[in-house]
Structures are given as structure tokens and as C-alpha cells.
Amino acid sequence: MLLSVEDLKIGFGLLEPLVGVDLGVDAGEILGLVGESGSGKSMTAMSIMGMLPLMGGRIKQGRIVFDGLDLTTINEGSYRKLRGGRIALITQNPMTSLDPVVRVGRQIDQASQLHLGLDRKEAKSRTIDLMDRMRIPSPQHAYDLFPHQLSGGLRQRIVIAMALAGDPDLLIADEPTTALDVTVQAQIIQLLVELVRDRGLGLILITHDMGVIAQTCDRVAVMYCGRVVEYGPVARLFDDPRHPYTRALISCIPQLGMAPGTLTGIPGMVPSSQNLPKGCRFHPRCDSVLDNCRLREPPMKTEDGRSVACFLHEGGQR
């Protein structure tokens, strides 16, 4: 495993936005992280990036092992060398993710200068090369532009180029297409998939779009209220969703040829982390609640390569 997160629990004061998160990703593999907003997907990304202290949070329990190194034990200085170097982040909104007063080329340079020790000239040629590979038209010219002079899709390509500039082994893409037009979304996803396949990167793709997951990921972790509720290979998870929440998410994907009125939503709302329900966190919205669900949190059960946290599947029985 390139990265494995084991039994991660984080805390912001008394709140615990993530509890018992387990997942892993290998080189050349795409792990999908899916769930509604507020389910802890971005928090997971921030934990892996070691950026919780910036936001006032901390890791309370568990390990994050990257390439054999437990990241929860290293100091900020060593972490900083990893960030943008071996682990890179692509953020949600390309409109606000770039420094508006710095030329985009320089923003990409910064990463390779920091992490690969290139001088300014080498960094520039690497940047232009990267921009070209990101299919940014006339990169020589685009290098000197400011972010506001580029379209959203191009800006996201800049953000991706910036993430790649430090030559990372692991890429975390936090909803990389949410803020973009539908037509551009597919191109960006395609670009990311190619990177993984060609360069052997590990990619954690955070999204709330089950459709994207189905098309691109190798494995998927379904998150709800700060917990991973189901985790497994993408094909089996879609063929045979075990957790009622996964089932509900899949039924929310609109499909061509569906009879009008058959597209379902999930009733209710994600509870806030201040007042989580007792027992299984999903039980108030679940369509197959057992008595047990209201009393205890179901533990994660793993069985031939896939895990689920639901009493319906206690001990692997249906």
C-alpha cells in the first residue's frame, strides 16, 4: 500500500468530525471517497495532508502510513517537505485556489523550486512542459497570465499542474470538478485518470458524484457523518451495495431511460457533528432500521476484500 489510514480519529476541541476511518490506496490506483457534504471527506484529505493544525484540529487516534512512514509521528518540518512534494492536493474551487496577484506560471514554479531544488530557469521549462501536458493552449504565453485572465477549466488545469510540479506519488483531488461546467468536468477527470495510469500515481478522488466513482475508481470508500460505512472494490460495491446508505446513493444516480418520477433522493439531512444520533449515525434516514441500530454503533466487518458497518450484515450474513 502506498498510503493506508488506520482507525483515524480527529478532534476539533470536543467535536470529533472523523471517527474510525480506515482506507488505503496503492500506486497506480484510484480510491474514490464519496458521501454527502459534511460527511468528512475533506477532513480526511486535510488529515492526510497534515493540515489539521492550521484549522485548529488534531489527530486523536490512529495512524496514517505513507510509504512505510507513519505521518502522525513526524514533525511539521518533515511534513512540509512531503506536502506538495510527495503528496499533493488539488482543491475544489479553481476560482479561489490560485493567488490572484501572482502569475500562474510562477505559482507552478514555486512547487518544483521548493521540492525538486530547481533554479528559476529549470523550473520555468518544467512548468511550461507541465502546462503543455495539461493541454493548456500556448503555455509560453499562459505562463505570464494572472489567474483572473483564465477560464475555470484552465485554472483547474493550472492547479493540477501545480500539484504535479513537485513530482508527487500520491494525489488527493478534493472535488476537483464541482465548480466547473459539465463539459469541462469530464475532461478534467479524464486528465486525472490518464495521470494515474501513465505515471503510476496513487489518487484519492473525493466527490459526491457516484457516477464519476463508477466510471473511474478502482476502490471506493463511502463516508457518512465522519465514518467510513462501506469500503470495497468499485464493481462489487455497485453490483451489490450492502450498506443502505450506499444503496440510497446509487439510486440517486439519474439514468437515461428512467421512468419519470423514479429518481429518488435520501430523506432527511446529514446531522451536524454537534448532535449526532445515538446508535448508527444513519438510522434516522435508513429504510431498513433494526432495533439494534438505535442503540449501538455497528462495528466495521471485513469479509473477502470488502467491509461494511451495518447490522444487516453482522457476521457476513444477509
Partner: protein, 309 residues
Amino acid sequence: MLGYTIRRLLALVPVFFVVSGVVFLVVHLVPGDPVDHLIRTGSSPDQRAEIIARYGLDRSLIEQYISWLGRVISGDLGTAIVMRRPVATLIWDNLGYSLALGGWALAFSALAGVAAGAIAASFRERWIDHGLMGVSLLGSTVPTFWLGLLMIMLFAVQLGWVPVSGARHWTSLILPVLTVGLGGMALVARVTRIAMIETAREDFVMLLHAKGVPRWTIQIRHVLRHALIPVVTILSLRIGLIIGGSVTVEYVFARPGLGSLLIRALSQRDYPLVQGCLLFLAMAVMLGTLLGDLLQAAMDPRQRDEATR
């Protein structure tokens, strides 16, 4: 950029006419007759009439305004009635003192304010933040003249480090600069701090951290650079304060300067001098605002594009 500057300068022309009209009229609202100051020694009515005619005070306001404006545009601000010297010369002589005090005070408040604000923002909600902000709040809440008097008492009288007053030696500038500068520093520090805290919340700063940029590089090269944009605006709006607003400090330290000149002219009802000073100040403020906008455009590519479009 050049085209934009020229357009902005042209836009000031109508403002100039309005301001000059008001400046001209305001002076005539001041009660008292300047002629009285000239003939205090009991001159004859003939002499009085001659003086009135010499300064054109017998003509209608409109006529006086037009001839005054005509002369102003050709660069002649007239002659001070009481001080009997060309207004332009008087302004020029005093401007040097004002610029020295204002310029150094500006430099001090900008540097100290930005430094204090940046440090406070970087250690937000810690004791160093509260301490710095408390001290700078203090700086903006005490009356300037009072601060000046206390400083004279401490540094000039008790310790004897600097001269009490006057403007003969550069050391006499230290206390006035500190007095004016401490007041301005508070504002700059507060604006810098707030702007930095707000910038630090932006997504791109998050991404800079994710890129592995060292924390202090982020704070100084990126966050502070953004925070300087509103600071420049604030400072450029205070250009009038720098040139004419130090009148209290000039008074306390017995320094010459434009503010003092204007106050003296007012008390002597010296029309041409009052008009000249007011007009000069107004123009300086207008140009200062323009300069601020240009600087802002130079610092922020988004505004540059908007301005030159």
C-alpha cells in the same frame, strides 16, 4: 495604464472648478475684514480705499472669483495681504516643513504599523497580538497634542535628548514625527491585521500550505502582500492629513508648516493666503487619492485590467 492615468486626471478638472468655487466662497464667510488688519495704525479713508482697490475687494464676488481663478490657473496665487509675500512662496516655504514631518511620520506609521499588524495577525489571539493591538489602540485614543506635550516633558525636559521645539536641527523632528506617527500607526496596524487574517482564510492560502511552502514565506510573500493593498488605499487617503493635518503637532512643537500657516491666515483674515492654502490642500488630496488608486492598480492585476479596459 498611461491612458487610464490621463483619463483620471481629466476627470479631476470639473472637481477642481467646484472645489475652487467653494474654497473661494468659504473664505468670504469668515467674519471680519482683512483691511482692518492692514490699517490698524489709523490710516485715512483714502488709504483704505486704495488698499481695497488694490486687492480688488470692491468688485462683485463673481468678478473676483473669475479673476482669481484666471490667475490661479496661470500659476499666480496672489499676494498675502498681511504677510505681504506671494502666497505661492509662503506655501512653498512651509510645504518643506510639512513634507518633512508628514513624510517621516507616514514612513514611520506605515513601517511600524505594517510590522505590528503582521506580527499580531501571525500570532492571532495570543498575548503578543493582544499586547500589540492594545498598545496601538492606545496610540489612536490619546489626543495628539497631549502625547506631544508628554513626550516633550519626558524626552526633551527630563532626559534632554532632543530639543523642546523649533525646526532648526534634524533632532527636533524626532518627537513630532513620533507623535504624528504613533496615531497613524494604530490605524495601519489594525487594517493590516484584519486584512491578513481575512486573506489567511482564502482557499489559495490553504493551497500554498498544501504546496509545502514554509509558513513564514506564506505570511510575508503572499498574505502580507495582499494585505498591503488596502493599507496603501488608507494611506493615500490620508495624504491631506500628512500635508495639513499635523497642525496640532506643529502648534505644540512650535514648528512652521502648512497647517499652521492656514490657521494663522484664518486668524488674520488673510483671504488670498487662506484661499491658496485650502486650494493647495484640496488638490493634494485629490492627487493623493489618484496616486493611491494607481498604486493599487499596480499591486493588483485584477484592478489593473479593470482600470485599463
